[in-house]
Amino acid sequence: MARHRAPPYGRRMITELGHFALILAFGVAIVQMVVPLVGAHKRWPGWMAVAEPAAGAQFALTLLAFGALMWAFVSSDFSLRLVVLNSHSMKPLLYKISGTWGNHEGSMLLWVLIVALFGAMAAWFGGNLPPTLRARVLSVQAAIGVAFFAFILFTSNPFLRLATPPFDGQDLNPLLQDPGLAFHPPFLYLGYVGLSMTFSFAVAALIEGRIDAAWGRWVRPWTLAAWIFLTIGIALGSWWAYYELGWGGFWFWDPVENASFMPWLLAAALLHSAVVVEKRESLKSWTILLAILAFGFSLIGTFIVRSGLLTSVHAFANDPERGVFILMIMAFFMGGALVLFAARARALEAKGVFSMVSRESALLVNNVLLAVACFVVFIGTMWPLLAEMFFDRKLSVGPPFFNAAFTPFMVMLGLILPIGSAMPWKRAIITRALKPLRYVFVLAIAIGALAYAIQSGRSLLGPLGLFLGAWIVMGTIVDLWGRTGRGENRLRRLGRMPRADWGKMVAHAGLGVTMAGVAGLTAWSMDDIRAVPLGGSYDVGRYTVQLDDVKRSQGPNYVSTTGSVTLLHDGAEIAQLRPEKRFYPVAQMPTTEAAIDYNLLRDVYVVIGDEQAGGGWVVRTYIKPLTNWIWIGCALMALGGLLSLSDRRYRVAAGAAKTKQVPAQ
């Protein structure tokens, strides 16, 4: 009989090498933080040049550490404490891999890996940056790395060993054993940490004491990338919640969700204000402040999730060391950056002059709305804590508050979006900007009114959402078409429009589609709960649901109960559904696997529940209109971002060769 799964010597060596690489990366990051900063101050090219190879080495070493940890998970090395707590030898390979970041220590290692990745990318693609700016950007980025390497090594080391390895692990939370969720954290992290790059650019620019249009252009691709990743990450998480949690909710205004949504809102604001810096050299100090705050909210998000502070004030006391450490990191970076901002912001006087009615003003309104919306989410998230601390009131702030307090800002944003994006720079004539939009407006109103007339309930939200969606989508298409000018060959010119213009159109249309989807789903969803005997059938709306059979079976690491359901529409069969519930014995946890008949206009969502004492099974049926529009809209937003990112204007590195001969200032 095998005594236990002690891995052979070589395999354990890999883990030790990983641990060693992590410590080395910490050292390299310290060098990268100090040497280039001093070099940039003293104008010593040799010292500044350290940044680039150091950024590469830091990334390579962190990748090695991360790879070693992943190897330990894949090979089920139960001499590592982390693997024992979060893995199991019977777990499918995909979840062994995703288990690497499905826990606190591993996810923090992924976090610094991405900090290092972005640093290395800035070093590789930053050939066109002035040498001092590049040195300072990489130094600030390394400082963020140093803080988190220290956090990992001193409070959350993933490479801790157990003296006596157990036979098997305790398995990963079954809810996390899902393909959608395997990739949700990495995308979200790429987004969070991508904002560290804009933060580094902002702080470096403050140290330099100057910001120009070129800075706006350098910082925009990084913001865009971070925003794309955040969009995908949030959408994946929301989609997963929708199909996995068993009642089709897609957004819960939970503190951890809000933690990812706040940076998204600010990154969206930053994207737009950086355009003004790039094109018009205005809004500079505000853009810098946004860049600092956007990363600040990423850190707050990390703090909220990692400290457990908002779960309850008491959870914080369970692990004060980690919480206090992150709080210190946050205080250092936010405090430092804001002090620097206060000292230097006056030096960033704007150049461009523009009238009250102009693209600049419209983008400013966009920024005000997004920033205030972010503030509402922030105060709602923190309020239970504040109320308990200052007013001794124990209260909850839940979805009804956020829906009521947040939605008006999004409605306003949706209303002004097509108008603002149709305005020219500097000085706009409002009637001229509105002229091509008037038919679109009338058509959108008509669509909303039609929805109001044919809906069965008394909802105002649904028609409003459809109106906004139609207004934004059609408005942005008309805007792009209007840019092709007049006369012949408009279609050809449309094809030759810069990718950034296409990106803007697609992303804005995506926002409209998502808004319509959210409103439609919230306003018009229907549900039905009942006990159904085997062979029984019932009607929900215009659909008939028939429960044919329920079977029990054994999965790789769970026991399954699966129903066979026939879905009929006006008497004709349209789908066979297999709603399932699973029980994971190792974790002692049940999960639901809803069966969903997807459709562009509606989802039919069937969940099987418990067997009833009197015979039959509990079956829940939900009709969810326009649900898929939410994810399609998110996909369009991400695609629009990608199109913009691929615009040739942002391939700044492409110009590097031409400008190499320019000496350091």
Partner: protein, 150 residues
């Protein structure tokens, strides 16, 4: 960050929500009960309403709420009955009473403030040309033009 992941680790089990035996025979009363229970917090869960939760305490609250409605309470009376026993913590939508008005007013006030600051800034932009930055050297200007020209 990893938004839902952690929420759900703490949440424990997936929601089964309302059970068939709780459903009232009067559809109007049942609809009122569903609407009200979406605004009441499951006290032992994390950020879940009793309408969504499968905790036994949530079930007790759902049944209690339905009993009050069947007994003829108005919506406000039924909610007040539950708040009297469980505290205002049970309300997912904190009423704008006492210090909570700050929470409700925060968004609109911030919009006014930000709008005001924005307006002052815009007026300044429209009127004065603004101080020029330290001018770029010829070399820098050439580089800038080079970068911006496409």
């Amino acid at each position: 960050m990893r938004a839902l992941v952690l929420a759900l680790m703490l949440l424990g089990t997936p929601a089964w929500a309302v059970q068939p035996d709780e459903v009232l025979s009067d559809p109007v009363l049942e609809q009122r009960a569903r609407t009200l229970s979406k605004g009441l917090r499951c006290l032992v869960c994390r950020n879940e309403s009793i309408d969504e939760s499968n905790a036994s305490l949530a079930r007790d609250l759902r049944i209690l709420l339905r009993e009050r409605l069947v007994a003829g309470d108005t919506d406000a009376e039924a909610v007040a009955y539950i708040v009297d026993r469980y505290g205002e913590y049970v309300l997912l939508n904190p009423p704008a009473r006492g210090s909570t008005w700050v929470l409700w007013a925060a968004g609109p006030l911030m919009l006014l403030l930000a709008g005001g600051v924005g307006l002052v800034y815009l007026r300044g932009r429209a009127r004065t040309p603004g101080e020029e930055q330290a001018p770029l050297s010829a070399n820098e200007q050439a580089r800038l033009d080079d970068i911006l020209k496409d």
